[in-house]
């Protein structure tokens, strides 16, 4: 496990990498994604766990994205994700539509080291019709029972934000167990944290249940308020006003450029987080 500067952490992601990131309400790696934009990341294949939000829309708008695999791209209360919507209509990105429990299940299969996993429902959905990589079989345990099998999905990277890491590389994500699933599934996991703590998080029985063990963690960077404008557990709430501002600006190309200039590209002490 290595402890890096934020920009060095973002530089770990090569062009065309498949990167799983959480949505806005799940400790999203917003500061990391802004660093990716500054570095001119290219041809990324993003995976929503299980949906996608601000971070994905920002990367799409900045031209960093070739493909999105997700159950939805949304700014929630702030409305449609403007760059995503534009890019899909213009055919500028490949969209692999999925459905939430299928995203979870495909990652779970990778994290359990099994090549596929069954899931109920979904039969008859056009989502299935557009996923030639998904397969319907007859349930081998019960005749006349068609059931969908999903292939394991092991992204090249999982990236998320968390409250704390220790120097051994254990990361405390609290109740965001979906981040553990991402880390288990991905080949490499990069994490931004509010702070590095002394001691070993796994030795504390109160903390251990919310810890992802260092065996899964490749590198960590400190990024204070790194989920902003998303919130983080009881550390800080989300910034609903900023999501509205983003949604308003990103509605036009020029507005999006202004947003980038003001909040992403300006490398000051504050912007570098």
């Amino acid at each position: 496990m290595r402890i890096l500067e934020l920009d060095r952490l973002a530089a770990e992601i090569p062009a065309a990498a498949m990167v799983a990131i959480p949505p806005d309400n799940s400790a999203t790696c917003a500061a990391f994604v802004r660093a990716l934009v500054r570095q001119g990341a290219r041809e990324l294949r993003l995976v929503g766990v299980p949906v996608s939000g601000y971070a994905t829309d920002l990367l799409i708008g900045a031209g960093c994205v070739a493909e999105v695999q997700s159950s939805a791209v949304t700014l929630d209360e702030a409305g449609l994700a403007p760059c995503f919507t534009r890019a899909v209509k213009a055919g500028q990105i490949r969209m692999l539509d999925a459905t939430c429990p299928a995203m979870h299940a495909m990652l779970e299969a990778a994290g359990r080291g099994i090549p596929f996993i069954p899931i109920r429902g979904i039969l008859g959905s056009d989502v299935l019709r557009h996923r030639p990589d998904w397969r319907v079989i007859d349930n081998p345990f019960q005749e006349g029972d068609p059931i969908l099998l999903l292939p394991a999905l092991a992204p090249d990277f999982a990236v998320f934000h968390a409250a704390a890491a220790d120097r051994q590389g254990n990361v405390w994500v609290g109740r965001h167990h979906e981040l553990a699933s991402m880390a288990h599934a991905a080949k490499r996991t990069l994490v931004t944290v509010e702070r590095i703590v002394e001691g070993n998080l796994i030795d504390d029985e109160r903390m251990a249940p919310g810890v992802i063990g260092s065996v899964y963690i490749e590198a960590v960077a400190v990024a204070e308020r790194g989920a902003w404008p998303g919130g983080l557990l009881d550390e800080y709430p989300d910034d609903a006003g900023h999501f509205l501002e983003y949604a308003r600006l990103a509605r036009s190309e020029e507005g999006f450029r202004a947003y980038l200039a003001r909040y992403v590209l300006r490398v000051t002490a504050a912007a570098a987080e």
């Binding site: 939805a72 949304t74 929630d76 939430c100 429990p101 979904i122 039969l123 056009d126 167990h177 979906e178």
Partner: protein, 253 residues
């Protein structure tokens, strides 16, 4: 007590559906993100019966999930969720939902956010109530452009339930999975059979006689403006402030 608000009438209509004595009891109800009207109906049902548990996605406090954002789907797959609410960018007369888009796949003319969990939840929850405030020919279409979640399934496909009703800003429909067809049950005050027909893109049956959607009874209004508003305020602050401003809540209490 002040007049019944349109939102309160919608909430009351959904609450009646939740409490339908002819249906499986709704002990465990899940609410998707950003749906204050169905959420309010569920909280009201909880106040009335005392036995409804409510899981609101993304709710910080009071959310029973400790195993990550996938836990709702595991609970649902096991049959532990009784009732869920769904909507859609398009809803057609056979109960199909489109949350994907219109035009060339995956949405060259209009692109909605995506299917979320609908393709799974619609088939795996025993009871689903459809809710969409906008009642227009743009939303209620003869045939959805794409099926995020099918209204019915062929025999042999594992499915626990179907949409049982559709509540909009104008009316309440029931749904027959056998006929894959809606029936107009009641129209809200100010609407008529004709105004609903004009605004609806799909064909449907009509209940005879056609009722007017009933107001919530006074006790329900008291519960809505008191304990329901209080329970919802942390999760839906803007909605609660708009519908039940603090002064009004105090007056009702």
């Amino acid at each position: 007590m002040r007049d019944v608000l349109p939102e309160e009438r919608l909430i009351g209509a959904i609450t009646r559906l939740i409490l339908d004595p002819g249906k499986r009891r709704a002990r465990q109800v899940a609410i998707g993100a950003a749906s204050p009207i169905p959420a309010a109906a569920s909280y009201l049902a909880r106040e009335i019966t005392g036995e409804v548990r409510i899981s609101v996605l993304n709710q910080r406090r009071g959310n029973p999930f400790t195993n990550g954002t996938g836990e709702l789907f595991d609970l649902t797959a096991e049959g532990r969720i009784d009732l869920f609410f769904l909507g859609g960018g398009e809803i057609d007369g056979a109960g199909n939902l489109n949350l994907i888009g219109v035009g060339e796949w995956p949405g060259s003319v209009a692109r909605f956010p995506g299917s979320f969990g609908s393709a799974f939840m619609y088939m795996m929850v025993p009871r689903v109530i459809l809710y969409r405030f906008e009642h227009s020919r743009r939303v209620l279409v003869p045939r959805v452009a794409y099926v995020s979640a099918p209204g019915t399934s062929p025999a042999g496909v594992f499915r626990r339930g179907h949409g049982e009703a559709l509540v909009t800003g104008k009316a309440v429909f029931s749904f027959s999975p056998e006929q894959a067809r809606f029936r107009l049950v009641s129209v809200h005050p100010g609407e008529s059979a004709e105004s609903v027909r004009r605004a609806t893109g799909f064909d449907y049956d009509m209940a005879q006689p056609l009722a007017e959607t009933a107001d919530p009874v006074p006790e329900w209004l008291r519960l809505l403006r008191g304990p329901v508003a209080a329970a919802m305020a942390p999760t839906y602050p803007a909605f609660v402030q708009r519908i039940w401003p603090a002064a009004e809540r105090t007056r009702s209490a």
